[in-house]
């Protein structure tokens, strides 16, 4: 019997996963614990022998990847769970980790568990793989970050997600932004006299 720990900051997500497991896969997996943060999970992982962790990536205090800071050589396997995000999915495809897209459903969970059980030798996550995946995910979040460019008269720092395209202009480049004005205008209103 596989002993599983469910980690998700949203209690209903843990509860739903538990119900799906107990209804459909109770002969294979038993839910040994549920945690709403990495710190809670850490305690459970130290106290109990856990074989498999269902790990949510996006959590408010510490994201899923920080678990591996506490357990650099984990003795448990991990199946990531994530809300739909095309970049994250791309990242998972590249890295060949097991993952589930939330909201979870019975079929997807069944397929993932089957795939997990059919692995002849269980692959523990390697440190390098984790950092690779973590960098992919971080990259997907980068759209909300700013990028800095030098200009002739200073620095330009648009949000990455606001950049539409870039054109070469000799040795320089032209950055075209989503929200910019077409031309700069005098912003001081004329007073009518």
């Amino acid at each position: 019997m596989i002993k599983a720990l469910l980690i998700d900051d949203e209690p209903h997500a843990n509860a739903l996963l538990k119900i799906i497991i107990e209804k459909n896969f109770s002969t294979l997996i038993t839910v040994s614990g549920m945690a709403q943060s990495i710190q809670e999970a850490r305690v459970i992982l130290m106290e109990k022998q856990i074989d498999l962790v269902f790990l949510d990536i996006h959590m408010p205090e510490e994201n899923g990847f920080t678990l591996f800071n506490y357990f650099p050589s984990p003795t448990f396997d991990v199946i990531f769970t994530t809300a739909f995000d095309k970049y994250a999915i791309q990242a998972f495809k590249y890295s060949a980790f097991d993952y589930l897209i939330k909201p979870l459903d019975k079929e997807a969970l069944g397929e993932t568990i089957e795939r997990y059980l059919s692995k002849k030798t269980i692959l523990r996550l390697q440190k390098e793989q984790i950092s690779l995946l973590s960098s992919y995910i971080n990259r997907s979040e980068k759209g909300n970050k700013r990028i800095f460019f030098n200009t002739i008269d200073g620095i330009e720092m648009p949000f990455i997600k606001d950049i539409l395209y870039i054109k070469a202009s000799g040795n320089y480049s032209e950055i075209y932004n989503k929200y910019g004005k077409k031309e700069s205008r005098n912003t001081i209103p004329k007073r009518c006299g």
Binding site: K86, Y87, I89, Q90, A91, Y136, R139, S140, K142, G143, I147, F149, N150, T151, I152, E156, P158, I160, K161, I163, L164, Y165, I166, K167, A168, S169, N171, Y172, S173, E174, I175, Y176, N177, K178, Y179, G180, K181, K182, E183, S184
Partner: protein, 72 residues
Amino acid sequence: MEKKKVVTQSLKDVGERLPTALFVRIHRSHIVSLDAVIRYNKKDKMVQLTDGTSLEVAHREEKEFLKNFESA
């Protein structure tokens, strides 16, 4: 901020600093945001962006460009 801003880095340098998951080089003179692409005309090899801009996709970049739009 203005819509167009000239920066003192080459297109190559700018491209290297942008996240590869979000941007793609389509031509020796153009890099586009994948999120900004709304249409691609295979015949003209022109890509249309959300702001109405049309840009040419170079023949040798086309295959790599289209890879980004294969169904997940």
